[in-house]
Every structure is written in C-alpha cells, then in structure tokens.
C-alpha cells in the first residue's frame, strides 16, 4: 500500500505538470512533435505548477487537500480540453535496430532507477535539506523564516513539486518526482535531434546522458541536478524551436523555463541571461528580448522576492558581500566557495579524468565520455555548433563548484554534441554510434562500475534484485531499512523524542533533517551556527579561550563619535568581545543613548558592549584596512583610552582609534599596552551559558567529532547532562 501511495503521488505530480503545460500550449495555440510535446509540456507545466505551489506555500495553504485540488483542477481541465485537439504531428521514423538500441537500455535502466528511487531516502542532501525543508514547510503549512539554515534561501523550484509528492507519498515520492525528469529528458533530447534531422544521434546522445552513472545516481534521489538539466535543455529546445519556426508565442514557455532554471538551482543563473541575449542576437528585437526576460523574471522572481524579504538578500545564500544580512557571514560564504571550487583538491588538469572515471569529484560519467573531444566534430554542423554554445553557457557554473553533479545541466549538450560528432563520421558513424551506446550501457551497469573505476564511487549500489524489490515495495518496513542502513537516522529521532519543539540543537555533524522536526545548527549554515561553532571551540582551544586585552592610549580627545579601525589585512575576521572607553583611571560609563554601529555586520555590534567576555562582535568578513566598530556618544566625550577584550587569535590585527573631529574622521596617534589572560577555569560553563543565551540548550554530537571527547570527559565542567545516545551520537542538555 505504501508503494502504491508513493507511485500515485509521483504520477499525480507528473499529470498535474503535464496538464498545466498542455493548457498553456493550448492557450497559446502551440503544437509540437509528439516526442517533444510530452517533454515540453511536462517541463513548462512543472514551471507553472511549481509557481502555483510556491504561491500556496507563501500564503500558508499547504494542506494536502489544497495541494490535491491545485493539481487535480488542471488535470481535469486538460482532460476536458484534450479531446477537442487534433493529434500532434508524428516524429520521424527509425529503423527497428535503433528503436531497440534505445528501448532496451532505456527500459532496463529505467526499471532499475525506479526500484532504486522507491527505496527510503537516505541521500546526504536529499534527506538533509531538500526534504528536510520540505517536511518543515509541510508541518508549518507553508514558508516560514528559517534563519538557521542557509539552504532555506536557495531557490526551491523543484522542491515545490517534491512538496506535493511529499504530502501524498512522503520522502520516496519526492525522489520519484526527480526520477520523472530523468525519465523524460531522453525524449526531449531525442526530439531535438530529430528536429535537426539526426534521430540516431539523438538516441545516442539521450542514452549517453541517461545511462551515465552520475545521472542515474542523482536522478534517483531527492536531488535537483537532473531536473535542472532537463529544465535547461527544455529552455534550449524551445528557443531553438522559436528560432527555426519564428513563432514568437514560443518565447513565453521558453522564457518561463529559462527563469525556472534559476528557480531550480541558483547556479543556473547564466541560463536566463543567455536566453535573453540569444533572442536579442537572433531577432535583433529589444521587444522580443524584453518579453523573454519578462517571462523568465516571472518564473524566477518569486524566489528572489522571498529571499529579499526573508534574508535581505535576493540571492541568499550567495552574494552576501553585496547584500549584507544578519543570517550568513560573507566570510563563511567565501570559505565555502573556496572549498567548492577545489572539491577533493583535484587540480584543474585532472578534472576531466576525475569526472569521467576517477570519481574524486563525487560521481562518474563513464569511460565513454573520454571520447568527449570528438564532440568538436559537431562543429561541422549548425545544430552541433548550437549544442556546443549551449554547453559552454551551461558549464560555466561548474567553475564555482567542481562537484561532478554541477556538470549535469551541461551534460545533455555535451552528450548530444558527442553523439553528433560520432554518428556524423562518414560511413562508420552510425555503426560506431551503436557500438558506443552498447559499450556505455554495459559499463554503466552498477555491477561493472567497480571494474573500471577505482574505489568507492558516488553511484547506485545495486543490491540483489529480491532485496531491492523488498525494500522498494516496503516488504522491509521503511523504519527497519533506515535503522539498518543509515547511521544518522536513529540519532535524529532522538531529537523528536527528547528535545521540546521549537528548541535549537547545536549539531556540528548531523545530516538527518528529513525524518525529524527540530531546528539543527550546523557549523557553517548560518551566522548563528558559525557563532555556536566558534563558541564550542572556545571552550577547548586556548587561542579562542584566552583573552587578549588591548589598552589603546592616545592624547586626550573630545569627540562625539569614535571608531576603532583596522590598519592591516588579515586572513581572519575581526572579533571584539568587549569595547570600553576611559579617561585617566576612570571608565566612561556606557549610556543607553549611545548608538553602536560597524562597517560590517552591524547587527551583532551589541555583543561587544554587553559585558560578557564570551560573546563578541565579528566583522563576518576577513580583515581589510578600514574595517571599523563605531560608537556615537550622542554628545562630546573626553577620552584617552580604548580598552578592548578579544580572543588571543586576534592579536595579529592592527587597530587604531579614529575620532570624528570637526566633521572629519581623524586617526589618533596611539600606542598599545597588550597582555594575555589565560583561559578562566569557568570557560566551559561560560560557553554553555552563552549557548543558552543564544537559545541553544542541546548538543548532538557523534563520538570522534571535534570536541566530543571533551564533552564526555569534562561534562561537569561544561555543566551539561548526557540525555541519550544512539549509533555513537550523544545528546547533551545544557543545564
């Protein structure tokens, strides 16, 4: 029964998307070939249906009944309308051999993918934030401000479709929705090639993508990369149809899909830009380009607006330097960028090898893609040139994240261009194409991947057929499977059991969001999480636990505003725990009328004036000259000293006082007396107390993780109580 519910949920989403697409095409009077019609209807409808679900989530109408109604209405309308439509034109005929060359691998792998996708979801990101956030939206009946998880700021166009499936069939139904895109895309690729009089290249290209181990793995879990690839290719197809047929009404779905690509994954940002430029160049019409931009904007704008409202940054969690906000430090974003640009520290020249067979970029395309240079042969034909141009646009974001998954949106273009190149070789091309296809199918079968790719790969692990079927159809109960197969499942459940709703849990190493309902704070996914992480380290590391006291002396000055500004660049943020002022031996008492601000991260400035040594203001960005923390006294105050308390690791930053004198910011001649105070005996308890002040009363940490031993061995010094444990994770409550 559970399996049927999962299947029904995914099919319902498919039908709703198709129906939305069909209604739009009918309204525009558009007709397509049969193969491309199914593909384009589904994708364009997905953009529309996703936007509709977005509106429901934004208005807190995420009830199963409302979602079902929202899907059923277009289905009924499309059903009623379909009967009056003439059949779309047929596709070009193919020989039986080529039909079998496509049909058999597609069916065999498609069935494998279906069984794998139906297994309970345990993928890192899928069971982490993709479905974790969806399940929370479902619980809250819609969007709410999740300030502790930067992933909540990512555009979630595909996740809106997951949300409908989740409401009906829970986690695996969402993964099945992603599979729908994987199953559909080959038909779109074939249709595009057929339109360009290259049906055999279409079959080869479609299966080069479909059978690739990376596509199979990603497309069978609740990720969004394959779906994004399909949407990008859909936008490309529609633009090509517009170019060849000059039917301007096609620009509406084309623009929608280009914008929806951005709504699916923010790294598809170049797609709408390229689409608009493409229309402009081809048509030389600003009006048509503007129209395309408008439709793209319609699909993407809801997410940008949501982020602008919730995170004060329309592109959150990116571009925090340009759109500073209290929810993520630009420095953390920069750190993540650096990490993602150098996945597994693979040097640039090794990237092609690692993406194809090496696997260090988390996923492999298959050895056949070693023939990728043959794609350049496609330059001989106009469609081939278009493919390579599109590939170039779609592959751009890969430079920002060299995880192999980020190649997927560009892969359909590469696969088709490669196919055009191979099949287009005079005389032997088609036969060679067939051989390459069979070779790719054989090498991509999960049982064979280990033979050509060393070590562990991020790929489908095919269990014995009987076991896979028992898992997929829930003969093995979902909970049993999850308990047996996924270490983080049971620890996550501890949270629902022991942590009261609404409380935050600091968990530096926990990815299980989808099957529990508490608010996790990781080490990098929010400003608060980063603060908690540093606090946690502060309890144990001398560089953070010790205090660096600075006394900055200068000749007495009377000013109404004073800054402490940096003089050098340091590859660290600027942190100040306490900032005080003095004249002679007397401290200038803090007054409620003072106004505190900073050149960066002003939201946390109060932490430098709260009389608590373990809370701090951080610049949230690496130190560059001129960074400052400022006090506006409201009236002239005479001072000759600034007293700063910082962590010992801050001693390398050079600071100087700058006063507003006669309307001009004037650096003051100063000298420093600095000294180090060793960590206080109560440092761990101070940290725990600050945790509570931040609203964090729980820590969930696995044995072996940084700090786990310290908690265990010095629990009385932390003032924490061990509440529960499962699979090597311990749940601590701060007393």
């Amino acid at each position: 029964m559970t399996a049927l519910r999962i299947l029904f949920a995914a099919l319902f989403v498919y039908a709703a998307c198709r129906a939305c697409g069909q209604l739009l095409f009918s309204a525009l009077g558009l007709s397509f070939r049969r193969g491309e019609l199914a593909f384009l209807e589904f994708l364009t409808g997905a953009a529309l249906f996703s936007t509709l679900v977005f509106c429901l989530a934004a208005t807190h109408l995420v009830y199963t009944s409302v979602l079902v109604t929202a899907g059923a209405l277009p289905i009924l309308a499309a059903y009623r309308f379909r009967r009056t439509q003439p059949a779309p034109p047929s596709d070009a005929p193919l020989t039986l051999a080529w039909k079998l060359l496509f049909g058999i691998p597609y069916l065999v792998f498609g069935l494998l993918y279906l069984i794998i996708a139906m297994a309970p979801e345990t993928s890192p990101d899928g069971a982490g934030y993709h479905l974790g956030l969806i399940s929370r939206y479902y619980d809250h009946r819609g969007f709410y401000h999740i300030s502790t998880n930067m992933y909540a700021g990512l555009a979630e166009g595909i996740e809106m479709l997951f949300l409908v499936a989740f409401a009906l069939g829970r986690h695996s139904a969402a993964a099945l929705v992603h599979l729908l895109f994987l199953l559909t895309l080959p038909f779109g690729m074939r249709a595009w090639a057929e339109r360009n009089a290259a049906p055999r290249a279409g079959i080869l290209g479609a299966l080069l993508f479909f059978l690739a181990p990376l596509a199979g793995k990603d497309g069978t879990i609740a990720y969004i990369d394959v779906a994004t690839a399909a949407v990008v290719f859909g936008a490309f197809s529609l633009l090509e149809i517009w170019r060849t047929e000059r039917a301007d009404s096609v620009l509406l779905p084309a623009g929608l899909l280009a914008g929806f690509a951005l709504a699916c994954k923010i790294t598809a940002g170049p797609v709408p830009v390229a689409a608009v430029l493409y229309v402009l160049v081809v048509s030389r019409s600003v009006r048509l380009a503007g129209r395309t931009a408008f439709f793209a904007f319609l699909a993407a704008a809801p997410w940008l607006i949501k982020d602008a409202i919730q995170f004060q940054n329309p592109f959150f969690p990116l571009f925090n330097h340009w759109f500073p906000n209290p929810y993520q430090y630009p420095m953390v974003e920069s750190e993540l960028r650096r990490l993602m640009q150098h996945v597994s520290d693979v040097p640039g020249w090794q990237i092609p090898w690692q993406a194809v067979v090496g696997g260090k970029l988390f996923g492999v395309l298959g050895p056949v893609f070693l023939l990728a240079p043959l794609a350049l042969l496609a330059l001989r034909t106009a469609p081939g040139r278009m493919l390579l141009l599109a590939f170039f646009v779609a592959v751009l974001p890969f430079a920002t994240n060299t995880n192999a998954r980020f190649l997927l949106p560009a892969l359909p273009f590469l696969a088709l261009a490669l196919a055009f190149g191979i099949v287009g070789i005079p005389r032997v091309g088609p036969a060679l194409g067939g051989a390459v296809l069979l070779l790719h199918a054989g090498l991509s079968w999960p049982d064979f991947i280990d033979r050509w790719s060393p070590g562990y790969q991020w790929r489908i692990d095919r269990p014995p057929v009987a076991t896979a079927l028992r898992v997929a159809f829930r003969v093995v109960p979902e909970k049993t499977f999850l308990n047996d197969q996924w270490r983080e499942y049971a620890p996550g459940l501890l949270l629902d059991r022991f942590v009261p709703p609404g409380e935050k849990v600091f968990s530096p190493d926990m990815g299980q969001m989808a099957y529990q309902h508490r608010d996790l704070l990781g080490t990098f996914d929010s400003a608060l999480g980063r603060r908690a992480f540093l606090l946690f380290i502060m309890g144990q590391a001398k560089e953070l636990a010790g205090t660096w006291h600075r006394e900055i002396h200068f000749p007495p000055v009377t000013a109404s505003r004073l800054r402490v500004a940096t003089r050098n660049a340091v590859d660290n943020d600027l942190r100040i725990s306490e900032m005080r002022f003095a004249l002679g031996q007397t401290e200038v008492v803090r007054e409620p009328s003072w106004r505190l601000s900073a050149s960066a991260n002003p939201w946390e400035v109060p932490y430098a004036f709260d009389n608590n040594p373990v809370s701090w203001w951080t610049s949230g960005q690496t130190v560059s000259p001129g960074l400052f923390l400022q006090v506006d006294f409201g009236h002239p105050v005479t001072l000759d000293r600034v007293l700063l308390s910082q962590s010992v690791d801050q001693r390398w930053t050079s600071l100087r006082p700058v006063a507003l004198l006669n309307g001009v910011w004037t650096p003051l001649r100063s000298r420093e007396n600095d000294y180090e105070e060793p960590p206080r005996p109560s440092i761990r308890m101070e940290v725990a107390d600050e945790f509570k002040h931040l609203g964090i009363r729980w820590i969930l940490i696995p044995d072996g993780s940084y700090g786990a031993n310290d908690l265990l061995e010095k629990a009385p010094y932390w003032g924490i109580t061990r509440i529960a444990e499962a699979n090597g994770y311990r749940l601590w409550r701060i007393n």
Partner: protein, 184 residues
C-alpha cells in the same frame, strides 16, 4: 522596462541599510559551579546514564519512560566519586507529592554524608524543593568514595511494596570553580 527598474531598485534596496543599535542590557556572570549531579532518569530505551561518577545504591523506584523523577523509599542512598574534599554543597531537587502530603502531612528530611548528619529540612508544603546543604571537608575523607543517604519520615505505606516518600528529581554535589580546575 519600468517593471525591471522597480525590481532592480527593490533588490538593490535589500542591501542598502544603515544599522545602529543602543547599548544592550549589561550582563553579569552567574556563579559557575561544578556539578556532580545524579539525574533521576530512565536508562532504558535510548537514555544514557545520566551522570558520570555517580550511581544509585538503593531506595529509588524504577523511573517511568519520559519522566525526570521517581519515587523514593524512606532511605534512598547514592554513591559519588568526587575529585577533592573541600568546597562541596549537597544539592537536592525533590517534590513533595500531594497524594502523600494529603494523607500524612509534613515530612522530615535528614541528609547523611558518609553516615554523618549534614542537614535536615521540614517539607511542610506540597511543592518542588531545591535544597542545598554545605558539606564539611572532614566528612569527605575519601572523596572518591562518598555515600549519601536521605532519611525521610513519615512515608505513605503501600499495601504491597515499599512505602512512597518523595519524588526525587536529582541529587548531587556542587562547588564553585577554583583556579585548580582545568580552564582548558
């Protein structure tokens, strides 16, 4: 075109704000105390042992799942491993239950550390009590082997089983931190 301009303005405005704050409320450090507290919680079904270096010797009835207290008999006893003899207070959190109080009235609690009376309290109301008794260093000749006994009287007799006395939440020792405690 106008739409794009408005949108661009909206998104740009998202990044343009001047933010300043008043001086926040001044915080004062609480007194941080080292805790060797035995929490009364069930250890079955996922619960961890709730305190290190301590254990129940007897006199506490089994804890029901989901609760953080249990009934005691008239003489619950506990064992603690302390790291030093000086500075400790004995802290007890307990509740006098109305089901007992209504029938037998006020109860007298006597606390013994290593067999020596350390303090007592009259539990004359039906409520949760947070009790603290200073423990003289002389009572802890071997801190690593410290035994605490509570004597409660009267208790509510049961037709079957031991008498019900108080609802105990936790019991243990606390002391202020000293310079000898590990700062890191």
């Amino acid at each position: 075109m106008r739409i794009f301009l408005i949108a661009a303005l909206f998104f740009t405005a998202a990044g343009c704000r001047e933010v300043s704050f008043p001086v926040p409320q001044q915080r004062s450090m609480p007194e941080f105390r080292l805790r060797q507290i035995l929490e009364i919680r069930p250890e079955s079904d996922g619960f961890a042992a709730t305190a290190q270096n301590s254990s129940i010797i007897g006199g506490v009835l089994p804890v029901a799942p989901g609760l953080d207290w249990s009934w005691t008999t008239a003489h619950p006893a506990f064992r603690f491993k302390l790291d030093q003899p000086s500075g400790w207070d004995l802290d007890i959190k307990l509740t006098t239950a109305d089901v007992v109080f209504d029938k037998i009235g006020p109860q007298q609690l006597t606390v013994l550390v290593n067999g020596t009376k350390t303090g007592s309290a009259t539990l004359d109301q039906c409520r949760t009590w947070l009790l603290r008794f200073p423990v003289a260093p002389a009572l802890l000749p071997d801190p690593a082997e410290t035994r605490v006994t509570l004597a409660i009287a009267p208790c509510l007799p049961q037709p079957e089983g031991p008498p019900l006395c108080i609802l105990l939440h936790n019991v243990g020792f606390t002391r202020p931190l000293t310079a000898q405690d590990p700062g890191r």
